[in-house]
């Protein structure tokens, strides 16, 4: 029944998690160094070296299709794509945190170490081949992020961390229940084995057993918490507002991307066959997508705090991404779910574009907040005159979030919507486009405040070197993906998932 998994090159098991091991070693190193070294700048440097080393090792697994630890860990181009995305994001976050971390003096080592640990968890999520790995890596990420959220130790930050912890625990419980039901029905824990068992049970029948369907719905709910789709988004505004801004950026980009990675691993590939089952969950994603986009865009309009506004904006972006998931499920191409479908490459491209865009926006906000000490949109008045380059960068990122051509957001939405139209989801695309227009209102409001209103003081907003570098890289990324999208798109089209 179970085909024995051969490791083609007879590699030792630990070899498959070498990038993660390296990152863990560097996280431990940061903790130890923090205890004995008084010069804290070195911690950021060590973290950056660890991230680069781990990224270089991950790159070596591109195109391989191997499984390690009896299928617990898979390495394929899908995992590598996401690992590089997470590492890139945490690299930019470490750069952007330089000033910010210096301002809280204590606990600097813990900050970098937890960031690396969260990244490790996400990398394991991308390469999970078994529901046990899925859960353990999800918790590693989650617990690190709960701690990071409460880092400021003030009232709002603590409240945010507690809310995130409690709601995260509930989401974990829901997810576990779903996993348990699916295990109960199929009797397997490996993702490939589950896929085959589901296929065997459902072939010939036209309906799914209620327990399996309940399990599937609970999985979507559990992962929906991770990607912050409505109605599992309750934690987002408070957590985004209370958490340190750099952590908010990390949450909104890496954590969300990890959620989509795990959804594409566990739901869209495992439950891909038979066709009608795929259409079932595609419908669920389509409905969630409409809810998420519409509600988030409307609620974002009256927000006065820019972190809260970007929180709702990131919920809305998850809605656009779920259009891609819906397209993935109702794709007319046979075998499209094994990878190589326009919907999957569209989602991957969108995630890459969104990572650069949102990181840029949050880095700009971090730099500005560092100076003016406020996250209120009204306080951004005249930022265009106080700090033209910073305001320009933020404007560019917001324009990209709307989806206007020179920026990458346009191409990202274009690819996803094209895939959705090909999958006969024109109605969903129309709703998504209407939503993009609604979203322009609240994004452009910030732009208007920055450029057209007069500043309260003529004082310049200085920014230190490393965060500026991070911001510049993000903006260049947005520009590059927007003008030569073929570059990443070629890669995203090559990405495929390996299921032993």
């Amino acid at each position: 029944m179970n085909p024995i998994i051969f490791n083609l090159e007879k590699l030792p098991d630990w070899f498959g998690v070498l990038p993660e091991i390296i990152l863990l070693v560097f996280a431990a190193l940061v903790i130890i160094l923090d205890l004995f070294v008084s010069q804290k700048k070195i911690l950021a440097a060590v973290s950056l070296i660890g991230i680069i080393a781990s990224g270089a090792l991950s790159l070596g697994f591109w195109g391989t299709e191997l499984s390690f630890f009896n299928g617990l860990i898979l390495t394929d181009s899908f995992a590598v794509f996401f690992k590089l995305l997470f590492l890139g994001v945490s690299f930019l976050i470490v750069l952007a945190s330089e000033d910010y971390v210096n301002s809280f003096r204590r606990l600097q080592g813990e900050y970098y170490a937890l960031l690396l640990l969260a990244t490790t968890g996400m990398m394991l999520m991308a390469g999970a081949g078994d529901i046990t790995t899925v859960y353990v890596s999800l918790e590693l990420t989650g617990i690190s992020l709960y701690a990071l959220t409460g880092f400021l130790k003030d009232r709002k930050s603590t409240e945010a961390a507690l809310k995130y912890l409690l709601l995260g625990a509930i989401a974990s419980a829901v997810l576990l229940y779903g996993l348990a039901l699916i295990f109960g029905i199929t009797g397997k824990t490996g993702l490939g084995e589950i896929a085959r068992a589901v296929q065997a049970q459902l072939s010939g029948s036209a309906s799914v057993s209620p327990a399996l369907f309940l399990g599937l719905v609970l999985l979507i709910a559990g992962f929906g918490f991770k990607i912050a789709s409505i109605p599992f988004h309750m934690w987002v505004p408070d957590v985004y507002e209370g958490a340190p801004t750099t952590v908010t950026a990390f949450l909104s980009v890496a954590s969300k991307a990890a959620g989509f990675a795990i959804i594409m691993r566990v739901i869209t590939s495992v439950f891909a066959a038979p066709d009608w089952l795929a259409r079932d969950w595609a419908t669920v994603f389509a409905v969630l997508s409409v809810l998420t986009m519409t509600a988030a865009n409307i609620v974002a309009i009256p927000q006065s705090n820019i972190k809260r506004m970007l929180g709702y904006s990131s919920i809305a972006q998850a809605g656009y991404l779920m259009v891609g998931l819906a397209a993935l499920g109702s794709s007319p191409f046979p075998g499209a779910l094994a990878g190589m479908s326009p919907a999957q490459s569209g989602v991957l491209f969108f995630l890459a574009s969104y990572a650069f865009t949102n990181l840029g926006a949050f880095t700009a906000i971090t730099i500005i907040a560092q100076k003016i000490g406020s996250d209120e949109i009204a306080d951004y008045a005249g930022m265009g005159r106080r700090s033209p380059l910073l305001a320009l960068a933020l404007t560019f990122c917001l324009v990209s979030l709307i989806g206007i051509p020179p920026a990458s957001g346009f191409m990202a939405k274009f690819y996803i919507f094209r895939a959705a139209v090909q999958a006969d989801l024109l109605w969903l695309v129309i709703i998504a486009v209407i939503n993009s227009v609604i979203s322009a209102y609240y994004y452009l409001r910030v732009v208007k405040v920055m450029w057209l209103e007069s500043p309260p003081s003529a004082e310049k907003v200085p920014s230190s070197a490393l965060p500026t570098v991070s911001l510049a890289v993000s903006c260049l990324g947005v520009l590059a993906l927007g003008t030569i999208p073929g570059l990443i798109m070629k890669l995203a089209e090559m990405v495929n998932q390996f299921m032993p």
């Binding site: 431990a28 903790i31 130890i32 205890l35």
Partner: protein, 123 residues
């Protein structure tokens, strides 16, 4: 598959009957007048429930208990992982020894951290 759970079901039913019987039998015996009702201090005392508390239980505990519990927990988990390793020590060989060593090292890093951060001091 369901038949496999049948034994567990039977067990549950037996448990249910047994625990209900334990409650019902004394009541029935009392009702029939077989057992006399003679309440006393010893009979009504806390039975097999530990010591009686001294003072109120709603006092604040020193949060350092929590540190100690946490630090101890790490060691506890380490032992859980070391047991199966120790049982298969010979078969696992050098690979197992290295793995166990790394595991201990990770916990030691945790203890060094706790020690340097003064979590082990009672002040």
């Amino acid at each position: 598959m369901l038949a496999g759970y049948g034994l567990i079901g039977l067990f549950f039913i037996a448990v249910l009957i047994f625990s209900l019987a334990l409650v019902v039998i004394p009541v029935v015996l009392r009702y029939l007048g077989i057992v006399p009702a003679r309440p006393g201090g010893v009979k009504q005392s806390v039975f097999e429930c530990g010591m009686e508390t001294i003072g109120r239980t709603w006092v604040q505990f020193n949060f350092r208990y929590y540190y100690y519990a946490l630090v101890f927990l790490a060691l506890d988990v380490l032992f859980i992982f070391l047991y199966p390793w120790a049982m298969k020590l010979r078969e696992l060989g050098a690979y197992g020894l290295t793995a166990a060593f790394i595991l201990v090292l990770i916990v030691i890093i945790g203890y060094v951290y706790a020690w340097k951060k003064k979590a082990l001091e009672w002040k």
